[in-house]
């Protein structure tokens, strides 16, 4: 369960609510389980991840996001469940009364480490700070598979003015597909194509986004955990070496376009807007915006 954030906005108070995940706790029974020797009570329907959060145990996740249906494909959140032949994914496995779980056993650490090594040896993780932090935590060594290990390296796809798709950084977490589909936008411009090591995110027949069903909401960018999907300005600034988050300001405000009232975070560097995002726990947007909110801000820095 996500904690209630109370970050006040410097401009306009932004309505905040917990991210929508587990409805109506009161109506549900509480179940008791044991995690790392500690007992914890959580509502029926909660996941193991919810329970670990309640205990303050930090569980790594890559393909999980509060606003999306868990796909449990990255397997970095696996935990040891007594009585289970294999490890189980914390993000999607629902708790059952009496479960006994270990989140930091030798087995868990090995699988998490190897999964991170598999990812980092096949994908460019240079713009995935979270994943790199996990690698440090689990002492993962991407180079152990040798210099000739197969990768998904490929040229970035730059086919429109708004964003860049660099699939050499894609860990295939399915988040963008979910955000483009029923979990947010219902546009279905992209899907998972191919199979095995060469499975990848694609439009039909790899057509450019400009010919596809894409509506440029950028919600895929909002959920991408590795920077494979990126606004073009950020991409170009990074290429030029001028992108510097430490020098950026973040201003929370409300989108000026229509009456929906989407909360937006305006990222600016050197007095210039470089990116617009939306807080995932915003009660209106849940992190989602439309093309106008995410990309239609040029007029704001038009000083004429």
């Amino acid at each position: 369960m996500s904690e209630q954030l109370q970050a006040p906005s410097p401009l306009i108070p932004v309505p905040r609510a917990p991210a929508p995940e587990i409805p109506a706790a009161a109506a549900r029974d509480e179940l008791e389980i044991t995690i790392d020797g500690k007992r914890v009570k959580v509502c029926e329907g909660a996941t193991i991840l919810d329970a670990t959060k309640k205990l303050g145990i930090e569980t790594p996740t890559l393909c999980f996001l509060e606003t999306l249906t868990p796909v449990n494909v990255c397997r970095v959140c696996v935990v040891e469940l007594e009585g289970s032949r294999t490890l189980v994914p914390a993000c999607s496995r629902k708790v059952e009364a009496g479960m006994v779980i270990r989140t930091d056993s030798e087995r868990v650490r090995l699988s998490r480490r190897v999964v991170l090594e598999f990812l980092a040896s096949s994908v460019d993780v240079s713009t995935a700070p979270q994943l790199r932090a996990y690698m440090k935590r689990y002492k993962a060594r991407a180079e152990k598979f040798g210099p000739r290990a197969a990768t998904v390296a490929q040229p970035p796809k730059i086919d429109n003015e708004l964003y860049v798709r660099d699939y050499s950084k894609c860990i295939l977490c399915y988040k963008c597909v979910e955000a483009c589909g029923v979990d947010a936008q219902n546009t279905f411009a992209i899907g998972v194509a191919g199979r095995g090591f060469h499975a990848h995110i694609a439009t039909e027949f790899e057509i450019p986004l400009t010919n596809s069903a894409c509506v440029y909401c950028g919600n895929c960018i909002g959920v991408c955990p590795t920077g494979a999907l990126m606004g073009k300005i950020e991409y170009e600034m990074r290429a030029a070496g001028t992108w510097d988050e430490s020098r950026q300001t973040r201003t929370e405000t409300i989108c000026p376009y229509c009456g929906v009232g989407c909360g937006v975070t305006v990222h600016a560097q050197n007095g210039q807007i470089v990116k617009v995002s939306s807080p995932i726990d915003h009660s209106v947007t849940q992190g989602n915006l439309c093309i106008k909110g995410r990309f239609g801000w040029q007029f704001m820095q038009d000083h004429e």
């Binding site: 249906t69 796909v71 449990n72 494909v73 990255c74 397997r75 970095v76 696996v78 294999t86 490890l87 994914p89 999607s92 496995r93 629902k94 087995r107 090995l110 699988s111 190897v114 999964v115 598999f118 990812l119 040896s121 096949s122 152990k144 598979f145 040798g146 000739r148 290990a149 197969a150 860990i171 295939l172 399915y174 597909v177 979910e178 589909g181 029923v182 979990d183 219902n186 279905f188 411009a189 992209i190 899907g191 998972v192 194509a193 191919g194 199979r195 095995g196 090591f197 060469h198 499975a199 694609a202 439009t203 039909e204 027949f205 057509i207 010919n211 596809s212 069903a213």
Partner: protein
């Protein structure tokens, strides 16, 4: 939802293929009409109201079989007809090996180079073909054909094998086995001229079922003794007696008999069949549809028993399914059969028609008020679709990616409804249980492995084929039944259970081929594969082929399996080329570590077993020192 389509238009021929397929599906009484519930997963994108998605696979198949590839225009047309976003339809089409999304000659020779065929000269055969037809994958015969290497085609008793498919208005298939370069290229040439006849590759039970005609056979008893297309023949040999008895028993008693029989699933996972039935039966008052699915996606290298049952005794499978449906309260069933088995699929299709005509399927079967019908779904080249939840997704028109369990199929299976999935051989065993009683059945075999079992003997064995035994005989006994070790006559290794199984050494031949016997030596029965390798075989090459198999068959959904199968193959190549990273010991430690992560953290059985056979061989022999 408005579909956004590109400007590519389908040709009249492509439209005709889609229209004809949809018409055929609409008129098939076996097709289910799902309620459209989804689990909200990315793979289930789309409005629940979109109820035609489960027709996507057969529609794509129709395009492929008519044109030889799936063009952007054809995909657009199919998407429009079914209300499926084209990006998703493309994702599905690109998942299957037998579909091509780039122009391809209409005639394709799929030449098996998998482990069973390797022992029978597949390597030399591919070399001959290269000289005769050019390199694999490039057009030959005036651009009208090509040949390509294939994973196991399930024709191991007649290895080396090839399957030739010819797209066109009347698509044709032909099996060439045992194959020579000459015989393949002459069929390819004939097909390129459009001269392949509709001739069916008839099962030659003398070749494939060496025991055929023996009186003790319970599962293979009718093989070679009856016309597989004739209900009357089937009934003459005792067919449909079990169904009548089951209808008299009532559902509860049928389930009790199956539980009492201690029948364990024959597909590989060995789950108690009766428990599955009971779990679905228990939900009969929920007013939700229940489904019975026959898993005929037999793709484990070295396995061909189900194909032989389907080709030689198709009514037995329909009867078993009907009994299962009666027991669990299902009115619809699917047979999911691998795409590489066109003849078995046709045999089953004929049998379904014949059974319907005589009231053994359809509404009020035998006038007893119980209704049940069956549809056939053909796969399109994906080993993973034999995993039961991947199979559901495949039938539903999604990518054949396994779902996380729980929920288990008995709670949330096909179309997210309670479902029973049974393997072909399992269903045929059910007839025996109903006819003679579960208790009697449970006394056959050993304490923990009851009943009869089919074994697929191939490789260096004197008489390859499918063999039936009551559980109990050892590996040595079963090899003796099949005439002993072939090839050089000096046995090097036996692979039990296929690529997902494990190797055993000649020292372990006295192990009983039972669930508990194989478990005791850290092996598995799996799907009943007993594949022999004589001392002329380079086991390293066999391991490399197994690693390549898993690398090409992993669906790619979860990280440990998607990347692990690739890294495993890379490590084996380094070892085989004597260029290890560090030392051989370091490489084998790396392989073991990867194997543990794949076993522990993969979503499904594919990743969990992808290292088993390789490590079992490395444990038994020092192959890379």
């Amino acid at each position: 939802m408005d579909l956004h389509l590109t400007e590519d238009k389908a040709s009249p021929e492509e439209e005709a293929a889609v229209d004809a397929a949809l018409e055929k599906l609409a008129s098939s009484p076996g097709e289910a009409t799902p309620l459209g519930a989804t689990d909200g997963h990315a793979r289930s994108n789309g409005l629940p109201a979109r109820s035609k998605r489960h027709l996507l696979l057969p529609v794509l198949q129709a395009i492929q079989e008519r044109l030889g590839w799936i063009s952007p225009g054809a995909l657009n047309y199919a998407s429009l007809q079914l209300g499926v976003p084209p990006a998703e339809a493309h994702g599905v089409a690109s998942f299957y090996e037998l579909f091509s999304l780039t122009p391809r000659p209409p005639v394709v020779a799929h030449v098996c180079d998998d482990i069973a065929c390797m022992t029978r000269g597949a390597g030399a055969l591919c070399g001959d073909l290269e000289r005769k037809l050019g390199p694999a994958g490039s057009p030959c015969v005036d651009g009208k054909a090509l040949w390509q290497r294939s994973s196991c085609l399930g024709l191991c008793e007649r290895a080396p094998a090839a399957l030739i498919t010819a797209a066109g208005e009347t698509p044709r298939e032909r099996i060439v086995a045992p194959a020579k370069a000459d015989s393949i290229s002459s069929v390819v040439a004939e097909a390129a001229l459009g001269r392949l006849t509709a001739e069916i590759d008839r099962l030659d039970s003398k070749v494939s079922v060496p025991q055929a005609g023996q009186s003790q056979l319970r599962l293979l008893g009718r093989l070679g003794q009856a016309d597989p297309a004739s209900v009357d023949d089937y009934r003459r040999l005792g067919g449909y007696e079990a169904l009548k008895k089951a209808l008299d028993f009532g559902a509860e008693r049928v389930i009790r008999e199956v539980i009492d029989s201690k029948l364990l699933g024959r597909g590989g996972a060995a789950f108690p069949a009766g428990k599955k039935w009971q779990a679905v039966h228990a939900q009969r008052n929920l007013h939700r549809p229940h489904y019975v699915i026959c898993n005929a996606d037999e793709s484990e290298p070295g396995t061909f028993k189900d194909r032989i049952l389907m080709e030689g005794d198709p009514f037995a499978i329909l009867e078993g399914m009907t009994i299962a449906a009666f027991a669990v309260g299902a009115t619809k069933g699917y047979i999911y059969i691998r795409g590489e088995y066109p003849f078995a699929a046709r045999q089953l299709e004929k049998a379904i028609h014949a059974a319907r005509a005589q009231s053994f399927l359809g509404s009020s079967i035998l006038g007893r008020g119980f209704s049940f019908d069956i549809a056939i779904r053909r796969g399109a080249g994906a080993y993973i679709c034999g995993e039961e939840t991947a199979l559901f997704n495949s039938i539903e028109g999604y990518r054949g990616e396994p779902r996380n369990k729980p929920p288990f199929p008995t709670q949330s299976g096909l179309f997210h409804e309670p479902s029973v999935v049974n393997n072909v051989e399992t269903l045929v065993n059910v007839l025996e249980i109903i006819l003679n009683g579960g208790a009697a059945y449970s006394r056959i075999g050993t304490a923990n492995s009851s009943g009869y079992r089919l074994f697929c003997l191939s490789g260096h064995v004197v008489r390859p084929g499918v063999y039936e035994v009551p559980f109990g005989p050892t590996i040595r006994d079963v090899i003796e039944v099949a005439g002993g070790v072939g090839g050089t006559g000096r046995l090097q290794a036996v692979l039990l259970g296929g690529a997902a199984g494990s190797f055993v050494s000649p020292k372990e031949l006295d192990t009983p081929l039972t669930f508990e016997g194989t478990r005791a030596i850290g092996a598995t029965l799996g799907s009943g594969v007993v594949l022999l390798f004589d001392d002329s075989v380079d086991l390293k090459q066999i391991l490399l082929r197994i690693a390549a198999f898993f690398r090409s068959e992993t669906c790619g959904q979860c990280v440990p399996c998607r990347v692990g199968t690739m890294r495993q193959e890379e490590a084996l190549h380094r070892l085989a080329q004597r260029k290890p990273l560090g030392s051989n010991e370091q490489e084998s430690a790396l392989l073991k570590e990867m194997a543990q992560a794949m076993r522990d953290a993969s979503i499904c059985g594919l990743g969990q077993t992808a290292s088993g056979a390789i490590l079992s061989a490395m444990d038994r022999w020092s192959l890379f020192s």
